[in-house]
């Protein structure tokens, strides 16, 4: 009888499933991100992101600080592209201040300086993304090249504002200080040196056989899904959508420059399809060249002399609310500000592009292999400081 019974063993259809915690301390999660992976062997059934390890309630802090005091906090959101974060916040406050007649508007010279540092920071950010992405999936060398060149940009920033990572350079109504003598020559030297390097990196990593095998056709994010998830920036452009706020809703003085918006393509030669990891990565490589083009145009034009700071009495935006967005290296950075006419905001919400990009991970990673998770996280290029705020 006992032997009869033992024939029938209760089998759970998913008894092979295993739960694996990846992170929070993991080198390829780009910060402190924990992924709860439900695995069937090597296959990922579900990947649930757990975030909040870097949460410091930026929005609550902001309610207790005056507008200029908030700028250093924006530095610490996306610390890889702090200039663009400063800029996004200042743009929103300036838009509110525009109704204040004592506010004279941002001077021309400051606008040029902003575009200059903004684009340099975009290159630095994409370089870091390129270097760490290579390292994540096993190519250590590109990382060293990327950091060598990023260092040059950090030195330029150190010269202009004294800081290497958290700049607090772009202020409400202008920039904190004028450029030092000969700074433009240093920028020109860097641009001359850097421009051919992008092609070198393309031969080093982009066309690398192993890299292609790891990224091509992995985690295809199509345009409709990207828009439904609210994904913006290089991730959306990698899906083939030509959308860049610098071009389509020009702010600052971007309408004066001639540049292209790189998008992803189907490339039969290597098998890449629109919206896969490879295309998302490639868009960033192409964007570096476009940033170089913009910087070169500034260097060729004459930067107007004059003040670098607007005239105003105090930053007291008239009561009301505003939502403004700008193109940061990782996508559209939005700020929702509610003012009651005092020196502090009633509410400040930062809409982080990485936050929406990471929310798509759960759907993107279904049915892929564990190793592909690393490829996805690198390709959507997240910075946890901005997600957790």
């Amino acid at each position: 009888m006992a032997t009869e019974e033992s024939k029938f063993i209760e089998v759970q259809p998913f008894s092979d499933e295993m739960v694996l915690s990846m992170g929070p301390q993991h080198p390829s999660t780009h910060g402190v991100l924990k992924l709860e992976l439900r695995l069937d062997g090597e296959i990922v059934r579900e990947a649930i992101p757990h975030i909040g390890y870097l949460h410091r309630c930026f929005e609550k802090h902001a309610e207790n600080l005056s507008y200029p005091q908030i700028i250093p906090f924006t530095d610490r959101m996306d610390y890889i592209s702090a200039m663009n974060q400063n800029w996004g916040f200042c743009l929103a406050v300036e838009k509110m201040m525009a109704a204040d007649e004592k506010f004279s508007g941002v001077p021309e010279r400051a606008e040029y300086l902003r575009v200059l540092v903004g684009e340099l920071n975009r290159i630095a950010s994409h370089l870091l993304s390129f270097g760490t992405y290579g390292m994540d999936i096993g190519a250590f060398t590109p990382f060293l090249y990327a950091f060598r060149d990023r260092e040059e940009i950090l030195l330029l920033f150190e010269e202009i504002c004294g800081a290497r990572l958290t700049y607090n350079y772009i202020r409400i109504g202008g920039v904190s200080r004028d450029m030092p003598p000969n700074w433009l020559d240093h920028v020109k030297n860097f641009i001359d040196y850097f421009e051919p390097k992008v092609d070198e990196y393309n031969t080093l990593l982009t066309e690398n056989k192993i890299f292609i095998a790891r990224t091509v056709k992995v985690a295809v994010l199509d345009e409709d899904m990207a828009i439904n998830y609210g994904i913006t920036g290089p991730n959306l452009r990698g899906a083939g959508k030509k959308w860049d706020l610098r071009k389509d809703e020009p702010y600052s003085i971007y309408d004066r420059f001639d540049f292209d918006v790189p998008i992803g393509h189907d490339i039969p030669r290597i098998g890449a399809v629109l919206g896969d990891c490879w295309n998302r990565y490639k868009v960033r490589m192409d964007e570096m060249k476009e940033s170089v083009r913009i910087i070169r145009q500034i260097l060729n034009q004459k930067i107007p002399e004059g003040p670098i700071m607007a005239q105003y009495k105090a930053v007291r935006p008239p009561a009301g609310e505003i939502f403004d967005r700008s193109e940061a290296p990782r996508g559209e950075l939005g700020f929702y500000i509610v003012s009651d006419g005092s020196v502090k905001p009633v509410r400040l919400k930062a809409k982080s592009p990485c936050f929406t990009a990471l929310s798509a991970l759960q759907e993107l990673s279904k049915g892929l292999m564990v190793a592909d998770i690393i490829a996805i996280i690198g390709s959507i290029d997240i910075v946890m400081g901005e997600i957790d705020r």
């Binding site: 975030i51 909040g52 949460h55 309630c57 929005e59 609550k60 509110m96 109704a99 828009i227 439904n228 998830y229 609210g230 959308w243 389509d248 008239p318 009561a319 009301g320 609310e321 505003i322 939502f323 967005r325 559209e332 939005g334 929702y336 509610v338 009633v346 509410r347 919400k349 809409k351 936050f355 929406t356 929310s359 798509a360 759907e363 957790d388 705020r389």
Partner: protein, 161 residues
Amino acid sequence: MIIEEIQGLLCEKFGEKISPFEADAVHDSCILVDPASVDVICRYLYDDERLAFDMLMCLSGLDLSPEDENLSVVYHLFSDVHLHKVPIKAVVSKENPHLPTVENIWKTANWHEREAYDLFGIVFEGHSDLRRILLPDDWEGYPLRKNYKEPDIYRGMKVPY
């Protein structure tokens, strides 16, 4: 399409559920809608060809002051087809902050609603996975409410430093 026209279309369709339009002369104006039918209104905004709001740029909770008895949820919508934007606002009471989810219209809302729940305590009915997202699961209270007091002790650690 400008906000007055969008407001007109919504009034035509939903009548009383849309509050009369109050233009803000200085900054962005909002369309104030009935919180209980946010999902139906958003579905219309998404589906109608003239509106086609296919992107939710931002979803934020809002608490104006400690004395205020209400919380708001603001939806910033953008249409990739027509390139127009509109902010939609729904006001709920602090006593009973419930409103339907829009997660099945825009997936962006999934995490953003979790964030609004986490920091404001706004409950989105029908949300698939309404948990805290930024704060630890056992945290008490909703920090972005204006009358929030942080706990003295959290897991044996002193909180105010």
